[in-house]
Symmetry: C2
Subunit: 213 residues, 2 copies
């Protein structure tokens, strides 16, 4: 829940999440920004997009609503900044998925997504985006931009197969479905299965979607 | 949206959905029951479980709230009856999945799930259950009962492999993820892809999960 707080002080690196909007400039207020983002992730992950209000986020962060608007703009922009942290590893350390032998891309992709869900830092924003995207078109649009636009298109760009984007989405579907059943709906035995066992079974399927001719 | 109305009159067969609660006895009121169920599916699919009220369902069906409670009981029971229609083909015509050669079970399962989502009769209840289950523990419980309890356990029971239930859930995860990306989040190109192309790519993966040693 405090994903960016520990490392994300005034000297935060340029790759810190939620920097994109660029306003206001990062100064001593970074702590407040992060507190707002933590509160936003918490609220969105519990309530989903529609039932979360900027006012509720502000209250939870102990600041005035006007400050939330000042830092981030609209509720949609708060949402995007809040969930972007979940995709930061994909966007900034994407080499871990895209670099390396193509015949192991399935395992790298599976390991990355399962790793994001297993991490307490990124599970809350992922829950936020899933809970929000299924019920709200604005949140669904954010999901499409981050997942399809940022992640899947890059993976598809590496593939030398027909229908590369469709294949990347079918691979992503396997991982999205596991997230749904294991972390959201919590169906047994998948919810309690060992992560490595899941990766061992799923990575070859993801690989098959991506590269098998 | 009018899934059961056409065939579900006073002479409805014993396999008609939402018969389970058994109260009150099916008489000339079957038309009213179906109107309430149609309204419930519509409301749950648009609003999700939490934001749907028995009062709203009653209003949409043109009846008094007390009548909804009389026929179905609690909101959870209305929900279960409303979404059960989506699983009726699985429960009553399950032979189409479970009967037949085991080396084609992947294709039968894939075809059944994609078929349910492609059908205008069953898409609304499926949307209702997905939108509700991700945000509400009661609805998630209904999902677990219907999908894990009714469908996956039966499929797993046919498999002569270790970890049969886990495998059935990983296969289901592939199909749940496709439903999420294609029908709920509507990500392209998967949202507009030909259903047969999807079945052709996905059935072998589902088969692999279920039976490959």
């Amino acid at each position: 829940m405090t994903g960016t707080t520990a490392s994300d002080g005034p000297d935060a690196p340029a790759t810190a999440p939620a920097r994109r909007r660029g306003r206001p400039p990062r100064t001593e207020s970074a702590g407040t920004r992060d507190r707002i983002l933590d509160a936003a992730r918490e609220e969105f992950s519990i309530r989903g997009y529609e039932k979360t209000s900027v006012r509720g986020i502000a209250k939870s962060a102990g600041v005035d609503s006007a400050l939330v608007h000042h830092y981030f703009g609209t509720k949609e922009q708060v949402f995007e900044a809040a969930v972007e942290v979940a995709f930061a590893p994909v966007l900034t350390e994407r080499n871990t998925v895209l670099d390396g032998p193509l015949d192991e891309v399935g395992e790298r992709m599976t390991r990355m997504i399962v790793g994001l869900w297993e991490s307490p830092v990124t599970r809350a924003p992922l829950l936020a985006i899933v809970r929000s995207a299924v019920n709200n078109e604005i949140a669904a649009g954010v999901f499409r931009r981050l997942v399809a636009g940022q992640l899947l298109r890059r993976i598809a760009g590496q593939l030398d197969v027909p229908d590369a984007e469709l294949r990347a989405e079918l691979a992503a579907a396997q991982l999205v479905g596991i997230a749904m059943i294991r972390y959201v709906i919590k169906m047994e035995p998948l919810a309690s299965a060992d992560a490595e066992q899941i990766i061992g079974r799923v990575a070859p399927v993801v690989q098959r979607h991506l590269t098998e001719r």
